[in-house]
């Protein structure tokens, strides 16, 4: 196919991502489970790439989890999001970057709703003004944090200290990329590559030396399901979804799983532990499980950040086997030390996952 025709064909799968001056909103899930990931993102953006990323102390949850668990009405969620827009406007920014995929989906849903139903936007403006006296401008650009890292993936590659390559064999690492459902399933044209060909994580993996695995359940949900995980009686749904994915990817022998959603890495990490405990079945080589990373953690590893500063010790599935493959040096003795080398004790070792060689 002619290059020109090819570009035209794939045009609708492209996405405009602002170049600088981002208003960053945090994720309730990511900051609770993978706090080092958000810090790594800010460090990469500010210190490596020299970008202006602003965070307002007064921003709150977008209510996305409660909205999708149906305890918060759409009007409430839209007005809370309008308040975030107001904080962005008063700070002099126009490019909104959420850390959370659920938030990204919520923001996208709201902006699309307002486009089709201007009277709803007018109603929300009234709600916000009545409740807070605030006004706002709509963001000029909305991109998920993974979109932004994707945009600068080659700059990151040029600064990389390590590659997604097995240092012993010289072969690319085999990577499962898992895209959060609310990234592009609802509004395909808002994600790089759409819902069918999401390229946001593939671009990073390939730029940093890895090889992406295609497997049958590649696009299946991790199993959060909002109320399906939040309520104890429903959690079988959640683990069943993850198990379906693990069984589908297992024959392809992945070296790691990378995700762009905050919840997915937690589920894909923890459910491996649960399945090991329940069924004495572990995925990955040597019964060690398959390490699960956020995209920020993967970028930070490539850039050579201290693994314990970016929080790799809060994963249940150990990341050490992956660091060994990549040739990343690490000090196991520092894994559970706090600031100023404070001893924080040690977690218990799970019964069935193989932690030998981890020096815990």
């Amino acid at each position: 196919m002619k290059e020109e025709g090819k570009k035209k064909l794939w045009q609708e799968y492209q996405k405009e991502i602002a170049d600088d001056r981002y208003f960053y909103v945090r994720s309730c899930v990511r900051q609770s489970f993978f706090p080092g990931a958000e810090q790594a993102f800010l460090k990469i953006m500010r210190e490596e790439l020299g970008k202006d990323v602003f965070e307002h102390a007064c921003h709150t949850t977008c209510t996305g989890i409660a909205y999708h668990a149906d305890v918060v009405p759409f009007d409430t969620t839209m007005t809370v999001v309008a308040r975030q827009f107001s904080l962005m406007t008063e700070s002099g920014y126009q490019n909104l970057v959420p850390s959370c995929i659920t938030s990204f989906g919520v923001y996208t849903e709201i902006l699309e709703t307002w486009k089709h139903f201007p009277e709803v936007e007018a109603k929300v403006r009234e709600f916000l003004f009545k409740a807070t006296g605030r006004t706002f401008e709509i963001p000029k650009n909305l991109a998920h944090a993974s979109d932004v890292i994707y945009k600068f993936r080659d700059s990151i590659a040029s600064r990389a200290k390590y590659k997604l390559v097995n240092q012993q064999t010289g072969e690319p690492l085999r990577v499962v990329e898992h895209i959060g459902c609310h990234y592009a399933k609802m509004f395909p044209h808002k994600g790089i590559g759409g819902a069918e060909f999401p390229h946001v994580l593939i671009g990073m993996v390939e730029s940093w030396g890895g090889e992406v695995i295609d497997y049958p359940e590649r696009r299946h949900c991790c199993g959060f399901g909002f109320r399906q995980y939040l309520v104890q009686a429903n959690r079988g749904y959640s683990v069943a979804c993850s198990k379906k994915k693990f069984e589908s990817m297992e024959p392809y022998m992945p070296d790691l799983i990378v995700t762009n959603c905050p919840g997915c890495p937690m589920f894909l990490d923890r459910w491996q532990y649960v399945i090991a405990e329940m069924e004495n079945h572990t995925y990955g080589a040597d019964k060690q499980g398959i390490p699960v990373l956020t995209f920020e953690e993967m970028a930070a590893m490539v850039l050579g950040y201290d693994p314990w500063e970016i929080g790799l010790q809060v994963h249940q599935i150990p990341v050490e086997p992956l660091m060994i493959k990549m040739g990343i040096p690490f000090d196991p003795g520092k894994k559970y030390l706090g600031k100023n080398s404070k001893d924080m004790g040690r977690p218990e070792i799970p019964d069935y996952l193989n932690y030998s060689g981890m020096k815990i």
């Binding site: 309730c28 899930v29 900051q31 609770s32 706090p35 080092g36 810090q39 307002h56 102390a57 007064c58 709150t60 949850t61 989890i65 409660a66 999708h68 668990a69 149906d70 305890v71 918060v72 009405p73 759409f74 409430t76 007005t79 809370v80 709703t113 089709h116 139903f117 709600f127 409740a131 459902c181 592009a184 399933k185 609802m186 819902a195 696009r219 199993g223 959060f224 399901g225 909002f226 109320r227 399906q228 939040l230 309520v231 104890q232 009686a233 079988g236 749904y237 069943a240 979804c241 923890r270 459910w271 649960v274 500063e309 809060v314 706090g338 600031k339 924080m344 977690p347 218990e348 070792i349």
Partner: protein, 236 residues
Amino acid sequence: MKGLFDRLSADIRVQEGLKACINCGTCTAICPAAGFYNYDPRILTDMVQKRDDNVIEELLKGEFIWYCGECMSCKSRCPRGNVPGLLITALRALSQELGFFTMSEKGRQQLAVKRTVGEWIIKHGYCLYLEGAGTEVHPEQGPIWDWVQGNWRDVFDKMEANYQGSGPGILRKIPEESMEELRRIFDVTGGTARFEQIEKCSEEKAAEMGMEYSKDSDCEYLRHVCLANEKDHNRH
């Protein structure tokens, strides 16, 4: 009950999510909930497009609408632009508005979600606030979570968080004036009314079921809705 379809279709998510279902079943093939629960988004969409108030009432009072995980995978593949997941959000909203949600085992669980995620938002400004939420309630979080819980502040300090601090950062204390704005938004937009409706209907249901209920703390009814699976919900 008359007028239920009209009330449902007043929700813009129904206007956006219901076109003309051709019953092809593509949504069901891709649906994670359909693989686990006795659930089928094709049947759901077909039931809604019948525009029959009796059928809508059956949905609002039953288990069926509570099985979806709102992953919205159905949206990505429907050849006619239907979104069963959006219909679910509208049905669940109406079920709670009319107080029908306590008539199903899965619907009654809304109290558990309101008491956790809902109240974390109002108290802390976050959807999750997990200090103290340990493995007794979340055993799947494993020994690493016990370790994090046991060293909460030190772990977050290590990651350069701003736990309970002022200014920006991870798990910062959201300023009281911002919390006030958030609460007023809930008051003005129906968020507070939804919470009160969940509590009121749950209290009535607890009395009907002969269970102890407390608005402010743990109680027999809350524990029951968190754990009960007395019906067979699963696909076999």
